[in-house]
Amino acid sequence: MKRVSIFWKILAVVLGTVLVSNLILAYIIYRGYETIISEARSYLPQELLQKTVVNLSNSWIIVFSTIIFILGVSTLLVILITRGILLPLFNLLEVVSQVKKGNLEVQANINTNDELQDLAEQINEMIASLKVAKDILEEEKDVLEIRVRARTRELRELAEQLEQMNKELEEKVKERTKELQKRVEELEKFHRLTVGRELKMREMKHKIEEMEKEIERLKSEKKQN
């Protein structure tokens, strides 16, 4: 639905009322004159009566122009009165719009000594409370930021320490790995050496056993012989 300004609403009501009341008044006066003329028809001279009737029939110009005059003056009054309401309202709208944008430094300066001034004062108080709340919030935010910064620094330091430790550990692991590799190599060498000897020992043992068996066989042959 299309928005209609307060001015047009008030103007329509005032002009409508003025127009209707004036037309009613003009009609009543016209009817009154007509009644007087009809009553005086038998007493007044014909010439004077004729002149009065002509004057009365011409009176629409006076009625019309007077109604226009009254409508004009009423419009002027409506403009002056509505302006007294609309200008403070525009001021308040501007202030609220500024507050909406985040500007809490604005103040509604209205000195009309009426409800609009009360409204402006209430809005000013609201802006002041909003400003206090915003200041507190900003203070809290600053404290939180400082805390977060301190924590971040601590965490960063811890991370750095951990990284350092990680590097040290890696180095240690590398060293140990090298050592272990060396050991493994040594063990492999030892293993290779020990396994070779054992194989030889086994061969020798096997040969010894064979030789012992040969000796035993030879001994038994000798006995038999």
């Binding site: 011409n58 009176s59 006076i62 122009s65 005059f69 004009g72 200008l87």
Partner: protein, 235 residues
């Protein structure tokens, strides 16, 4: 009809008092103005011519009612009054013409045409007119009076519609705002002058003093208009 002393006094004093609103209005139009535009000059000339015509009426009433000047001699006063009244109508036409947004090529011929029309109306009004008394004051009776009244009615109606059109245009252009109603006050002053003059001049009853009091609203409106303009210039 013989008028009594009180009627004469009221006629003379009110015609004298009426000069002040128009003089003040003329003064307020150009007061403290750094840059005077053509429309301001026309408006100033309009208020000056109305003030002069008001002053001539005062001199005429004074000389006729109290200085014993014969009725026939007042013809020249009436002539001067109507000439200045015609000039004021012409100046207001020029003012409206300077405000309306039409091509200058149309403006000049229409101004000349309107001037010719006024001269024509005045010429035929004075041709064969006879000096008489109306509402105890000198008046010029002419067979062209009815035509003149209709011309005046038509002119007021056209001026009124043109003013509304100009107000609409200037409202759309942003020249008239709720913060700056200067032009609107000027138009209201003109409207008041037009309608009150019409009612007081063509009233069928004795001078309607109650309506004439509204003349004093005119300089106040012009003063308000100038005040608004100054405030707007400062801001």
């Amino acid at each position: 009809m013989e008028s009594n002393f009180l009627d004469k006094l009221i006629g003379v004093s009110f015609s004298f008092i009426n000069v002040f609103p128009f003089s003040f209005a003329a003064y307020f139009v150009i007061s403290k103005k750094k840059k005077i535009e053509l429309s301001d000059i026309f408006l100033f000339c309009f208020w000056v011519s109305t003030a002069i015509s008001g002053f001539i009426i005062f001199v005429m009433f004074l000389s006729y009612h109290f200085l014993g000047v014969p009725l026939e001699k007042t013809y020249f006063f009436i002539l001067a009054t109507w000439i200045f009244f015609g000039a004021s109508i012409f100046f207001i036409f020029l003012f409206l013409l300077s405000k309306i947004s039409i091509k200058p090529l149309i403006k000049i011929p229409s101004a000349l045409l309107f001037l010719c029309l006024i001269i024509f109306i005045l010429f035929f009004y004075f041709k064969g007119a006879k000096v008489g008394v109306r509402m105890n004051n000198p008046w010029l009776y002419s067979h062209f009076e009815k035509t003149g009244v209709y011309f005046l009615l038509g002119t007021i109606f056209v001026f009124f519609l043109t003013s509304l059109l100009i107000i609409k245009e200037e409202f759309q252009k942003g020249k008239i705002t709720w913060q700056n109603l200067s032009l609107l006050y000027n138009y209201f002053a003109l409207f008041l002058y037009g309608i009150v003059s019409f009612i007081t001049t063509f009233y069928f009853f004795p001078r309607p003093i109650i309506i004439e009091i509204f003349y004093f609203l005119i300089p106040y409106l012009v003063y308000l208009a100038r005040k608004e303009e100054l405030k707007h210039e400062k801001s």
